[in-house]
Symmetry: C2
DNA sequence: CTTAATGCAAACGGTTTGCAGCCCT
DNA sequence: AGGGCTGCAAACCGTTTGCATTAAG
């Protein structure tokens, strides 16, 4: 069973219908090594399917978010970027010149435990972004 | 020398003029224990100075950002929040129910050093946000 | 067949911009 | 006095919404 079918099942399990548009969006996210904006996804699909609307992309990404199928991130600028939730918790290292993005393992488990004790908060989630210059961009 | 004068000097040192509007904005930021949106700042000032425009607030916050006087954060929703840069590097713990915000010490120095070695990146900055439920909100 | 999802157009909210006049330095 | 800063209005851009139609289950 290919991984597209895996995601189809995940959606169906949550009662989210498996439409052509949703299949296309998942396919684009699967094919990408980095988080994508709604506009990125729309741009990639528009040529093959001109009737697709940006609002459909947004609506679906939001359904996916509600169903914990994707997660949204504010990496650069004001726009949200989306990535599939594959169970592998990680963060991002972003080159501020070329926008390259490297996924990073999470170093925060111990910190979160300590935080829970110190503050009395129930810790639910966190986001971390590291900004820098990649080896290419720093040499010029 | 009160701390408002301190910020006045910082701005003047960078060639940013010390106008009435800027003084008001800095004052509001100084008085707040948590990051504020442009709209928050605007709302607090509008009553005393009805001629103030939201665009002026934005323009100034952006000048301040360029001059490394303030930093902007995406803590909740789509809007940016701003805080003065007082040299004390920290992060935020945010209650997703009541929007309470607690500043946190940064646990990432060692991680950044390791990252530099592992990836070849020059590390410039980072952002971390922890989401949870504060002691009040979790009991209901 | 029923109801959720889509296409389409229009609105929305945060943020930016162009321009004439104002006021820091 | 000169050039940056402001008030004001309008544009901009990412995102959401209302509604009639289409398609998934």
């Amino acid at each position: 069973m290919g991984s597209l079918e895996l995601w189809e099942q995940k959606l169906k399990d949550k009662g989210i219908r498996w439409t052509k548009q949703r299949r296309m969006i998942i396919r684009v996210l699967l094919a990408s090594t980095r988080p994508l904006s709604a506009q990125d996804i729309f741009a990639k699909l528009q040529r093959d399917y001109p009737k697709l609307r940006l609002s459909t992309v947004y609506r679906n990404l939001n359904s996916f978010k509600d169903g914990k199928i994707v997660r949204s991130l504010n990496l650069t600028g004001n726009e949200q970027k989306f990535e599939l939730i594959d169970g592998n918790h990680h963060h991002h290292l972003i080159c501020i010149e070329c926008d390259d993005i490297i996924p990073l393992d999470c170093p925060l488990k111990d910190f979160e435990n300590k935080l829970k004790d110190d503050t009395g908060y129930t810790i639910l989630d966190h986001r971390m972004k590291i900004y820098g210059l990649c080896p290419n961009c720093k040499n010029y």
